[in-house]
Symmetry: C2
Amino acid sequence: MVAEPLEWRKYDDAELPRVLEAALEAFAKHGYHGTSIRELASTAGLSVPGLYHHYPSKQDILVALLEDVMRDLVQRTAAALEEAGPSPAARFDAWVECLLRFHMFRTKHAFVTSSELRSLEGDNRDRIVALRDELQGMLDHAVEDGAAGGTFATPYPKAASRGVTVLCIGVSSWYRPDGPLSPEDLVHRHLVLARGVVNATE
Amino acid sequence: MVAEPLEWRKYDDAELPRVLEAALEAFAKHGYHGTSIRELASTAGLSVPGLYHHYPSKQDILVALLEDVMRDLVQRTAAALEEAGPSPAARFDAWVECLLRFHMFRTKHAFVTSSELRSLEGDNRDRIVALRDELQGMLDHAVEDGAAGGTFATPYPKAASRGVTVLCIGVSSWYRPDGPLSPEDLVHRHLVLARGVVNATE
């Protein structure tokens, strides 16, 4: 039996377990330190002991949430790169489109991930940062390969790769589904901008 | 008597009033909703009534802090543009360098501004957003002028302008003063990237 290939462009409404969905809403609104276990339990429709049955602490909820968010993005990115094949230009475009769509359709997830990384403790932080670095590494490789082969003319592949990442992430700070541009238009425009950052030659 | 021109490249250690400095530290660490007035007073070396004497509420402290941060950036940007003169290419470079330096030397300020905009109420939010829009407008003009005159070849001046902004802002998420690159090197590299975003022709 072969697993269905992941539809990396498709975003459904609700994909998180109930407690994590409640945590996402609360952390986005009041922050991790501004949210109590009692509020989380009530929003999730659980008693406090019921909540503790699933997660031993608020910290466990935060790390489960961020891990879920990052793993989703890592899996989508891997599927997008798989679909793109070996060409550095195609891999670059796939990576950019995937990160863009994620930051258009998961704005709250992205906001909580970036604003509450500070609230992760010890190993938890290391684990999430490792996932983030894994993602950045995928783009770094595509840009470095492209720069080595002449597809990208940038003299600074590493800085360009990081620049492209923040370019995609930045979309989450202003994108609204009811805005004037369709997701496809936005993806197209940002691909043009991102190719500018790496000085794409094709 | 003529006022000294603002040295927009210069960042001193402490420029905030004592209460706002305490708020900056606390909000950066625990968030606005995770910080109590009692903690703020204690960090600032004041009694709670003493603190209320200066600021009637925690919300007043947040808006004073963000307004101070945004006004500082607006003034620096105006000084940088003034120094650059009328050429769109020079104005673009000045704007980018100014926003970059701000996000290298005011990382905590930038983080609190972006993560706690959600916590501003009503008119307070409108006022800070207006300052942010004023800043973005300065770059939009430089990019639109440059696109109209052929200095920038981008087909999407508005999207490019926003892309350049997030490129500069993104620096604050990873810049460390003890990193391998000097501020001047970082500015140089990011100017190259930013010119790529607008397809600079010179």
